[in-house]
Symmetry: D2
Subunit: 343 residues, 4 copies
Amino acid sequence: MIKVAIVGGTGYTGVELLRILALHPEVEVIAVTSRADTGKKIAAIYPNLYGLYAGEFCSPELDHLIQADVVFFATPNGTAMQMAPALLAAGIKVIDLSADFRLKNPQQWEQWYGMTHVCPELISQAIYGLVEMNRSLIREAQLIACAGCYPTAVQLGLLPLIENHLLIHDQIIADVKSGVSGAGRKAELAILMSETGESFKAYSVNGHRHLPEIQQNLSLIANREIKLTFVPHLTPMIRGIHATLYVQTSVTIHELQTVFEQRYANETFVTVLPLESHPDTRNVRGSNQCQIALHQPQGGDITVILVVIDNLVKGAAGQAVQIMNLLYNIEETVGLKTLALYP
Amino acid sequence: MIKVAIVGGTGYTGVELLRILALHPEVEVIAVTSRADTGKKIAAIYPNLYGLYAGEFCSPELDHLIQADVVFFATPNGTAMQMAPALLAAGIKVIDLSADFRLKNPQQWEQWYGMTHVCPELISQAIYGLVEMNRSLIREAQLIACAGCYPTAVQLGLLPLIENHLLIHDQIIADVKSGVSGAGRKAELAILMSETGESFKAYSVNGHRHLPEIQQNLSLIANREIKLTFVPHLTPMIRGIHATLYVQTSVTIHELQTVFEQRYANETFVTVLPLESHPDTRNVRGSNQCQIALHQPQGGDITVILVVIDNLVKGAAGQAVQIMNLLYNIEETVGLKTLALYP
Amino acid sequence: MIKVAIVGGTGYTGVELLRILALHPEVEVIAVTSRADTGKKIAAIYPNLYGLYAGEFCSPELDHLIQADVVFFATPNGTAMQMAPALLAAGIKVIDLSADFRLKNPQQWEQWYGMTHVCPELISQAIYGLVEMNRSLIREAQLIACAGCYPTAVQLGLLPLIENHLLIHDQIIADVKSGVSGAGRKAELAILMSETGESFKAYSVNGHRHLPEIQQNLSLIANREIKLTFVPHLTPMIRGIHATLYVQTSVTIHELQTVFEQRYANETFVTVLPLESHPDTRNVRGSNQCQIALHQPQGGDITVILVVIDNLVKGAAGQAVQIMNLLYNIEETVGLKTLALYP
Amino acid sequence: MIKVAIVGGTGYTGVELLRILALHPEVEVIAVTSRADTGKKIAAIYPNLYGLYAGEFCSPELDHLIQADVVFFATPNGTAMQMAPALLAAGIKVIDLSADFRLKNPQQWEQWYGMTHVCPELISQAIYGLVEMNRSLIREAQLIACAGCYPTAVQLGLLPLIENHLLIHDQIIADVKSGVSGAGRKAELAILMSETGESFKAYSVNGHRHLPEIQQNLSLIANREIKLTFVPHLTPMIRGIHATLYVQTSVTIHELQTVFEQRYANETFVTVLPLESHPDTRNVRGSNQCQIALHQPQGGDITVILVVIDNLVKGAAGQAVQIMNLLYNIEETVGLKTLALYP
């Protein structure tokens, strides 16, 4: 059994890890920390887990984590970097669902995240955690920086194009939409039901932290700088990300469909839908799946790529468990077979 | 492997059966019928099942069902009674999720359902499918009339009181609220998002078909006629039933809590929450759980019982699979371990 | 022109007052206070008011209010009682949308609201602000304690019964459901969209502050103590209250319908729907209307009364403007003609 | 008083016309037709209009319309063209909210709308009904083809750019999102709450009927062919359109802001928000307003324009009443002052 500890168990990615790991046959959760809810029963905070976790949230101290084989950080940005050095030194694997180790350039990180990085020397050893991009590197890693929710959707939709040098114009537009759980479990006016229900808006148009993350990785693969206009929107639902990507490519829609299908032929968690499809985010709600559909409307100057994921599963906790499975040579789908809830 | 056929695969209870059975290790789904979608790929209609069902919907003919060990009817009322006689004669088990065999009195059935019953002689051999009420009878049955969604919630909330003769006044009030999936997958104006979103209303106050079903079963257990005022409401969400039950009882809240805890101590799918609890329907969304909480406000003349289930799982497809497990001596929880999605 | 000041302009009842008063032809809003948003443009906080209020929120000081003819308190409980004495002494009318002056017994108030009342001597001069109950008293009042949202719905549904002594059993059950805007504009986890969306629950079953308010007023009218079981629920929508009331009465449904129709024949804002009706909360969303429907299911032991209002309009800001109109001898409907938004 | 008839009174644009016209001081509604609901009370179908319309829906015959000064068509496509010739010949003004007269080229119309146009000779006299584009032409018109909902939002967001020749690349991308009321009041599976709630998707990526409408009008103004990639999405809310427009322009964001502010300085129903703004669709829910915000992220290669309207008001019924006011020399805002509902 893999001994797992979770730091930051009272956010939405934390409880999603608990939901998934509760039924994972190879895992024992030995500690779940929560600064705010220390001492409270897990099932009292999360009644959907009633009967599955008898224990309590503990304080986020090293002592509670040191017996673990692997520690998940489901914390706000800036926490994982404080504790990772000691855990890594103790030989523990660290899967960070926050953004602390995603950007390779510490100056860029500090600029976008507004704080000083306390262990920039560890950044280079962190492997970017998007399995479909970095499977073999992840297998050998000790520190994994899980991909963000938007970057997971956008990159899965662009990878086959970038890897195959099929873009004829570097100006990519990513119009992305997220459910409100993407904003986390925080007591903030802006994400009240009365504020976000029955309304739709764009936000952070002038710059969102997931922009440099996507640009860094796509540029790395393309071996040149990729330009991206990235506009996130808040949509009045709880779970789900829908990315609508606009690119210019040299190939026909049928060729492109083949490229995508071949690229993802062996990926259990990525499905390329038939031509003419329009995936709903509910197709993947609660599951670790990503669904992709391709279109070339009106003659084909612009190719439109539609991508859906569940931001809390493939965009966070599911991805993290997929990574853990890789680290321990378990089949990638173990614990991740849950189907999307419809309706 | 149990060979399963599903009649009526394109309604919400049908697809929910498909979702649950896809991961059931002892089941092989050999036929899924749909009058409307005959010949269409299952995954084309239900993209959440992509990759799990390669086949197509077939027409609802006996030939397609006769190889099955067990046939689930996820059909509108009036269909199961047409096909059940032939299936039963062929030795096949029938689990009917519709209402065709729920009422013991055929005249009463015809009055509430507005059609002639074509096989009233089978009604007496049908076992009412609420496992927590009828476990041992179900084990031996060939024809099961699964409990309705509202009746499941209301009866689980009242059983311990009735069985222990703790009501001092027969006038029970059941104020029940359901998500719109309870109305089914039908092209009707009244259940459009623009009609039901952001609005709340009561319906069928003068008489709902689940009223005689509940009264019949509770009266049977009480051995006298139970009076029930039953008011259903439509709430602007997709899944979930919340029953608020008002009763008058002779015992204190602490005694009652003990009675309920003991009654359900061995029931995996029923949880009696600690005193002071207020279950959300999301605690059980997507799972086969029922959660119950008890209150005696302001001195205790009236006891308030709160019950939540997912109408499509414990109120329909999950219950049906739990019954199938019983019929085949499989552990009741097999295929039904999925946890509620939160948030 | 009536000079109006609003204390507490950044809550949902505050902005609703601003929305209604913006188009009121006899009103000039001279000050809107907000502790949190002092100095910010009103339209920056409430972009739906763009172009209608050029000014800024000011701090809640007496100096800003003293030029007003009437001051609305749209504040949390405990604020109005601090400022009301000085305003009343200055001859200003005070319309309090909070609960500070609703309960006649200061000890009871302190017990339910958990603080010391600073001007209990003013309580007796406060008129309870439910126009349909207290029209003539309100006309002459200087201090009005507006009815709470739930009490408005429940009392309008019971008034004709109580006034005409038609109850044969004092045990009334009020199962009430509210949209989340009823919880206010507060940064609290429990009312995030991810927490309240797609879920339904009861709350405060053991005692809600609106219970003593309703009991006090109904008992006053009945001239004996009325017993009420009051169970509030949170429903996943933004606006609207639906009360389902269960009573026992000596009269037939047709007699009752007549009693209700006659009682409200001259009330513009209360509509008794035809028999067999089931009002949706959306029928009154954004309007000052109350709609009522009566039922006597299954023989009539229990009469079921359905009542819908918009909690922020007839349950708060609309009611307050209706009261202001009365105070100034303006037709009651002025500023309140807006129709419910459908869909 | 202007005598108004409405053809197609039981769709969402029909009831929205009724809601707006109920409070319009210069209008008398003399007939409301509905094929499906002929003979039924208007208030029975639309309980939000209780007490405002005593009459019944009548059948859609010429006799019922011929006394009107102006006839609104709130019908499915293909109906207005059947009746318009006779009405126009009788000197009646026709305001068509459907698409029958929007496209100047009858062949193009027939191709996109899949039917034969029965009065192509009238197309040239129809004035395109977007007041901010065609005010003076509308004033003199007898037949108006109201702009579609998406085209209203997209064109208001692009007009200042096109009129001032500020585009440096003709490849415009319009990523647009609509609430489900845009799909109309039709008994269709795809727009059930269980199908559209809590989910987000694109649709008609390969071609939507509003594409040729937008291209025709923008090209006319630009005096050259404008290329547009137009991707509509369905968002899980009832009302509202959010257009996110991506263009390339030669001017800075500050210059552009000035251009937009000047262009709309005298337009009551179009507000250019301050730089850095992100309009919510709820800012305009239930109102005839359009709000626009401009952004040039990351150096400015791509300019992002955000536009919000209520699809049923500025995108349909409100626009139509604004047009009627123009036709009768009434101030444009009469009947249209209702503020957006927040929250």
